[in-house]
């Protein structure tokens, strides 16, 4: 069974020449939850944007469930890889929540009763069914985040890639989010600064810095090494007891 995600020696430079990713290699098995950690500017978000083909690598390859990412497989890859953006506002662009959640499935060809059903299921999975008729700009930060996840889940993806999912959430919302993600049985890749969230949610983690993978292993082990963390501008809010 091929890994859910296989990134092989991915390199990418921005149009202005700045090197963003340098030979990044990463493999994630089906059902795993892996955290991608690192300081600002490490290339974490850039990597995330490659995973569904929004950015196209200069060299290297990406395979999703054995399917090689290229121009032809793009639509299928985009169905399989669900990307949840940093700013939920960028992702909620339709007049109502129901329209937003339905946008993805509608593009996949669903309509009528099937579409309605898919939308209800996605809303229910995230616990926001009561928000279906609301306009996105009237939602709170936590509600927007949940709806954003629903818009992606509605595509029935194989992999969920989340970019800073807990950013801007108050502690209660954050706790709900962690519970929600723990309850969804799907491969997850979580880009985050929130080290305790990574610890709670992801058994495995990868640390990136300056476009490279600099450390990988069990999350608990990585986060207990405070000297290594400090070397990459990271620190736990509380020391980890081994």
């Amino acid at each position: 069974m091929p890994p859910a995600l296989e990134v092989n020696r991915l390199s990418y430079s921005y149009p202005d020449g700045k090197r963003a990713l340098n030979e990044v290699t990463l493999s994630v098995d089906a059902g795993e939850r892996v955290a991608i950690l690192g300081p600002n500017g490490a290339g974490k978000t850039t990597l995330a944007m490659h995973l569904n083909g929004l950015f196209r690598a200069d060299t290297g390859s990406i395979e999703i469930g054995g399917l090689h990412l290229d121009e032809k497989t793009l639509p299928e890859i985009r169905r399989q890889v669900g990307l949840v953006f940093q700013d939920a506002n960028d992702q909620l662009f339709m007049p109502t929540v129901r329209d937003d959640v339905g946008f993805g499935p509608a593009n996949l060809g669903l309509a009528g009763h099937d579409l309605d059903q898919r939308v209800s299921e996605a809303l229910g999975a995230v616990g926001v069914s009561s928000l279906a008729g609301r306009a996105p700009h009237h939602l709170s930060g936590g509600e927007k985040r949940k709806v954003a996840i629903a818009t992606v889940l509605a595509m029935e993806p194989e992999i969920l890639v989340l970019d800073e999912p807990s950013a801007g959430l108050d502690p209660a919302n954050r706790r709900e989010l962690i519970g929600l993600l723990q309850g969804i049985d799907i491969t997850q890749i979580v880009v985050t600064h929130d080290l305790p969230l990574a610890l709670d949610l992801c058994p495995r983690a990868v640390i990136m810095d300056a476009g490279r993978v600099v450390a990988a292993g069990a999350t608990g082990d990585l986060l207990a090494d405070s000297r290594m963390l400090a070397g990459h501008r990271l620190e736990m809010p509380y020391p980890l007891a081994d």
Binding site: P75, D90, Q91, M94, P95, L115
Partner: protein, 255 residues
Amino acid sequence: MGAGHAHALYIHGHSRVHLLAPEVKVAAAFSMVVAVAITPRDALWAFLVYGALLAAIAVMASVPAGFLVVRLTAVLPFIAFAFLIPFVASGDRVEVLGLSVSEEGLWSAWNILAKAVLGATTSILLVATTEVPQILRGMGKLKVPSVFVSIAGFMVRYLELIADEVGRMRNAMRARGYEPRWLWQAGPYASAAGTLFVRSYERSERVHAAMLSRGYDGTMPDLSSEPARGADWAIAAAVPALALAAAVVAIAGWL
């Protein structure tokens, strides 16, 4: 000259008016306004009829009179213009309250005033009983090009966000002592507008990326619901039909 937040324009409710399909309401509102606009200005009785019809809708939809008055202040600039007309217009003079005004001008002022107020009240009632996304849906059903409706949808969605950014920029400038009163001090305002455009543009690129991520291929998907029932059309047509009848009678001069 835009007004405030969209949610302050809608009054939540479940009246028969609220529950009508949006396309019938938009069509009815437009027809009503046409009837008002083509009515000859001296058919005073017709304007009374229109006022009564709109009042009836307001009552049925539980829209308070105070709300209507507040919202009508948007029409204010032209009301002021209307009041000036009798003074600057030419034609035979007439004495009103000790002032010499043009008789023709008085009729013109009445014409503009009555039609502006009735027209504005019609849209206010439409928006009070129909949420904006629904209004856009209704426009789409009435064959307004979908590109236009989609653009309007994005505009409405991101308007508050951008207006908030404007507010934040303004506060930041004020906090640093910028309170300009003359045009040559407007440099920072203009820069703020330019920066706002760049930020807005960059947001649109991210939104586009999000759309691509969910399978967007250049055309918006069809998310429409079922078309309105015949009964809805019949009910909604009642008011503009009466109004149009009144207009026809007034134009033909039968009353």
